[in-house]
């Protein structure tokens, strides 16, 4: 069964803080994604990657960096966190193309920036 694990589950930081969200998938999938969910917006794509060392910009990349260190691991970095980045963050993986595939999601990380 496809598995995507996010950590931490909850995170509280202050404005200007440095935060790293981690995602690991054991599906041997090529594609990994970071989304944020906010009321009224659905899930918006922040960054995605189609393999180790690759990074693609999503729809709402400002204020975020990401790094795909291995096929399994995809990190989302907030180097100067702001209150507008308070959100639910979801990681997902897929083994197909971006335009047409099934996604397997982690359970989410709740980030609060005070």
């Amino acid at each position: 069964e496809a598995a995507v694990t996010q950590s931490p589950r909850n995170k509280v930081t202050v404005t200007g803080g440095n935060v790293t969200l981690s995602c690991r998938q054991t599906n041997s999938h090529n594609y990994m994604y970071w989304y944020r969910q906010d009321t009224g917006h659905g899930l918006r794509l922040i960054h995605y990657s189609y393999g180790a060392g690759n990074l693609q910009i999503g729809d709402v990349p400002d204020g975020y960096k990401a790094t795909r260190t291995t096929q399994e691991d995809f990190f989302l970095l907030l180097e100067l966190a702001s209150p507008s980045q308070t959100s639910l963050y979801f990681c997902a993986s897929s083994d197909a193309t971006v335009s047409n595939e099934r996604l397997f999601f982690g359970h989410g990380t709740k980030l609060s920036v005070l």
Partner: protein, 109 residues
Amino acid sequence: GDQVEQSPSALSLHEGTGSALRCNFTTTMRAVQWFRKNSRGSLINLFYLASGTKENGRLKSAFDSKERYSTLHIRDAQLEDSGTYFCAAEPSGSWQLIFGSGTQLTVMP
């Protein structure tokens, strides 16, 4: 095991016809959302339901917390409806979302 089981995984429809997608839950959920994946990879919110039914154009969704399922009905399918659809449910007492694995819908002329 999975808490959200989405079916079918793939569906082909001819233009003008309709069908339904379904998500079954193995535990009590307090709300469900339905999304459609756009060409950029973002998931656009179609519906949010805490109970009952909602309708928007050719789409209609229902959620029954007690019976542990939700459906998304598409009628008069159009070519532009093609894409991947996801349900996501909120377990009672949790802020988290549990996603179905998606339905790949193809609408054919």
